[in-house]
């Protein structure tokens, strides 16, 4: 790739320079070309290196070629996107650039590597929806197979590939489901900043996800991986080249998490507006800090684990193979040392979103602000000390089980904080049952089942029965889908006016909410029973006596799918076709992000840096000052702005 500095120099001059449109300008297209060329080069190199290896000749599959292909595809992808220009320019000793956001008109900017946090937020929003719906369709494929205990829709190998793809895509992509779209978009606005600390890391964090998604999904076409999202060794060492797709998909998403987490943490620490003290920071900000630090400290261990697995699969080390001095327990430890914080990476931003939105619709301060923050930090810290509860039946370290049972049950305390905060905030409140509020209350309803069943799975004697069964599966779907995914959809309804300038229909939103929560509970509640009655996870055949329950669940899951389809269609229809303009501050929120000049916010966010003089949640104090001294430019006029689009 030729090094093109033109874009950087343009961005330095306050974005006034005319925008040149050319197919050779770095964009997703040049990125794909670069990625393709990189893959071809890597694949060729891998065949040159490993073509004669005994395991390659025997199996007819060359993992080395695939791994190197992916590696160079990533390099080519970023080179094609133009992401390497700035790092190379720094090697030549140029001073760092103060990034000014370019307000490039049109759609083009959404397909480029860009340093505008709002563009990255929108990219993430659509990315996340694509990833979520892809993985969701795979879930429906799983449920279709389970309609019958004996008759098969998919082959058992295809079935496990679908299971693995669904699990991996959901678990890895959804870690950014709130941080990506809303953390990146809203947090700088919330803290009154015009910019973020590391805009290029932020952009990179997004651009890791499409290639990660593509590589992971392409594994299906290469025989997939039949080892699930946990990919326990040595089964994962035994798999074909599809497993390399898992390794790279997950690994790249890990890098994305590191970039996004670093940026959000450093931004919140350093870029808060004057007067935005830690005591005034939105609860959402606290959740993002907890989330970011958890990502930074847990993800490198995952990458270690994936790396070790790659070496075992290609260089024939034996780190995960007992008979040559390794141990399959090593993977289980490395994986779950990341894997447990991982599930809180999913839960914490959901809680942050909930605690952020509920006060707006309760017209009350957050009940126990410090408790809310402590709850999220507590979850983040405890998450590092519980990983062996996934391994209670593995046979390793039985003497540690009481300890891990204790730390796991301690998790209930900070989770309880979140409930205390919710109940306190609703007490003597003025509750507006808008669509976003309904979703947040839905989170409380759903997560409660997830929470109390967490006590079952953490209790070692009960774990003997429920470990690895559908009970566990129902438990974590209640916490993750019932928690963060409901919060995600609520946040979409909440922030669509800000992000697009268009108001959504309450009626359609309510149809979506009620159909979704009923179908969701109807899908996952019976699965607790299915698990207790003895159905293990990831099976394509099950006991005939469980067919009624399984059919009920499958049909409910179709309804859930229809409900989500209803969301996509109506949401897209409203923001693309009908486009009803939003009013200013539609939810009457005090928080800074709503007090910008226009919706969507202008490229510079705020004309001048706001000086914060009050907290974001002083809804119940009739004498409270506005949160900051923002004077909006067009206060009397239409807030919805179309020019950016």
């Amino acid at each position: 790739m030729a090094i093109d500095f033109s874009q950087e120099t343009k961005s330095g001059s306050s974005g006034a320079a005319a925008h040149k449109s050319s197919i050779f300008q770095p964009s997703i297209i040049t990125g794909m070309v670069g990625g393709g060329l990189g893959f071809l080069f890597g694949h060729w190199a891998g065949n040159a290196i490993g073509g004669g290896y005994q395991q390659v000749v025997g199996s007819g599959q060359n993992d080395i070629a695939i791994v190197l292909g992916y590696l160079f595809a990533v390099v080519g992808w970023f080179a094609g996107l133009g992401a390497l220009n700035y790092p190379l320019k720094k090697m030549l000793g140029f001073e760092p650039e103060n990034v000014e956001h370019i307000s490039e008109p049109g759609w083009g900017k959404y397909f480029r590597y860009t340093t505008d946090h709002k563009v990255v937020g929108v990219q993430y929003l659509f990315g996340m929806l694509v990833y979520f719906f892809t993985a969701g369709l795979l879930a429906l494929a799983i449920r279709t197979e389970l309609l019958s205990p004996t008759h098969h829709i998919w082959g058992p190998d295809t079935y496990l590939e679908i299971v693995g793809e669904h699990g991996t895509m959901m678990m890895m992509m959804m870690t950014s489901v709130v941080l990506g779209p809303f953390g990146n978009y809203v947090i700088p606005l919330m803290i009154g900043s015009k910019k973020v600390a590391f805009p290029r890391l932020e952009a990179a964090s997004f651009w890791f996800t499409p290639i990660s998604y593509f590589i992971l999904l392409s594994a299906l076409w290469q025989g997939g991986f039949q080892s699930g999202w946990t990919s326990y060794a040595p089964l994962s060492v035994q798999q074909g080249v599809g497993q390399d797709g898992y390794i790279f998909g997950f690994g790249l998403q890990g890098l994305s998490m590191i970039c996004a987490g670093t940026n959000i943490v450093v931004t919140i620490i350093n870029y808060r507006a004057p007067g935005m003290t830690w005591g005034r920071l939105n609860v959402m900000g606290w959740s993002m800090v907890s989330l970011g630090f958890t990502m930074i400290l847990s993800v490198p261990v995952l990458i270690d684990g994936l790396y070790v697995l790659t070496l075992d699969r290609t260089a024939q080390t034996s780190l995960l193979y007992g008979a040559h001095g390794g141990s399959s327990f090593l993977w289980e430890n490395l994986f779950w040392f990341f894997g447990h914080p991982e599930v809180y990476l999913l839960a914490i931003p959901g809680f942050g979103m909930v605690a952020e939105i509920v006060p707006v619709f309760a017209r009350k301060p957050v009940f126990g602000y410090k408790t809310a923050a402590a709850g999220m930090i507590g979850l983040a810290i405890l998450s590092f000390f519980v990983w062996q509860h996934h391994l209670f039946q593995s046979g390793m370290n039985p003497d540690m089980r009481p300890l891990f049972m204790l730390t796991t049950e301690l998790i209930s305390i900070p989770t309880g904080f979140i409930y205390l905060v919710g109940m306190g905030t609703l007490w003597r409140a003025r509750i507006r049952l808008t669509v976003p509020m309904l979703f947040m209350l839905g989170v409380y309803f759903n997560f409660l089942f997830g929470g109390v069943t967490g006590v079952y799975v953490s209790d070692v004697p009960i774990n003997v029965t429920v470990h690895g069964s559908f009970f566990v599966m129902a438990h974590f779907h209640y916490t993750i889908m019932g928690g963060v995914i409901f919060a995600f959809f609520g946040a979409i309804y909440y922030y669509t006016p800000l992000v697009t300038g268009y108001q959504l229909s309450e009626k359609l939103g309510k149809i979506h909410f009620w159909s979704m929560i009923i179908a969701f509970n109807s899908t996952f509640l019976p699965l607790f029973a299915v698990g207790l009655l003895g159905q293990p996870r990831r099976v394509f055949e099950y006991a005939a006596r469980l067919q009624t329950l399984n059919d009920w669940v499958s049909i409910s899951s179709y309804v859930l799918g229809l409900s989500l389809t209803f969301f996509v269609v109506t949401w897209m229809w409203q923001i693309v076709v009908t486009r009803k303009k939003s009013v200013r501050d539609p939810w009457s929120s005090r928080s800074l992000e709503w007090h910008v000049d226009s919706y969507p916010p202008p490229p510079y966010n705020f004309e001048t840096i706001p000086v914060v003089v009050a907290g974001p949640y002083e809804y119940a104090d009739p004498d409270a000052l506005p949160m900051a001294d923002i004077v909006v430019a067009n206060a009397g006029r239409d807030v919805a702005r179309e020019s950016v689009r």
Binding site: G58, W154, G155, P156, D157, I162, L220, G223, V576
Partner: protein, 229 residues
């Protein structure tokens, strides 16, 4: 694209087209990939009330996306060989199985699978000789190549391997009887209708850890179903 202000109708049309394209992509993915499977070879009932099932196991199937993998070929009623492991059998019928084994052999991972089980008389005829337990240490060192194991029907038939250095060793399938092989025959009785999985217990997935990857974990090679209807 940019700067162009579309009318409401055009936006609606574009969106609908997008949804339609997505649905098309989905159908393509499901039908074109996820639902594909090896063919099912049907063994119809013969007049005598029993059926003949003729199969061969090859060291390398030589066709398809993984020509170097071990796998089965099954003969249909017209005598044509199909590379598959999906076999349809009539219920409550005696099935006479003839297996041509062209692969070289090795040790059983678990010697318990030396025992022939679930067949008529608990025996299989290996090149004409009835045996109830195969001994991997005999057979002039050629070991066991594969086992035909149907857990739900209790069937386990191990097959002796042929010498890998035989002059007329069959290196790619489908092989023919002029090449080095062992012939294993046995009979079993199908019970009621059902779908029964079968597999091999010799770790024969060359190039995969513990020999249990690749062909061992993909339908059409060393993993399949008996569909008794």
């Amino acid at each position: 694209m940019k700067g162009v202000r579309l009318s409401k109708g055009a936006r609606a049309g574009a969106l609908l087209f997008g949804f339609a394209a997505l649905i098309g992509l989905l159908i393509f993915a499901v039908a074109g990939y996820l639902r594909t499977s090896p063919p099912t070879v049907s063994v119809g009932a013969s007049s005598s009330g029993s059926v003949n099932l003729v199969m061969q196991t090859d060291g390398a199937v030589g066709v398809g996306p993984h020509p170097s993998w071990v796998g089965y070929f099954v003969q249909d009623a017209s005598g044509a060989w199909h590379q598959t492991t999906l076999i349809q059998l009539p219920q409550n019928t005696d099935v006479h199985v003839t297996l041509y084994e062209y692969d070289s052999g090795g040790n059983l991972r678990n010697s318990a699978w030396s025992k022939i089980e679930g067949t008529a008389g608990g025996v299989a005829y290996i090149n004409g000789t009835a045996e109830s337990v195969v001994n991997p240490n005999t057979n002039t060192g050629n070991g066991i190549a594969h086992t035909f194991n149907v857990p739900a029907l209790g069937i386990n038939v191990p097959m002796y391997g042929v010498s890998g250095s035989a002059k007329n060793f069959c290196s790619t399938g489908p092989c023919n009887t002029s090449q080095a092989h062992n012939t294993i025959t046995f009979s079993f009785h199908t019970g009621g209708a059902g779908i029964f999985r079968w597999q091999c217990f010799v770790p024969c997935g060359l190039g995969y850890l513990e020999g249990n990857g690749g062909p061992m974990q993909n339908l059409g090679y060393m993993a399949g179903f008996l569909k008794v209807v």
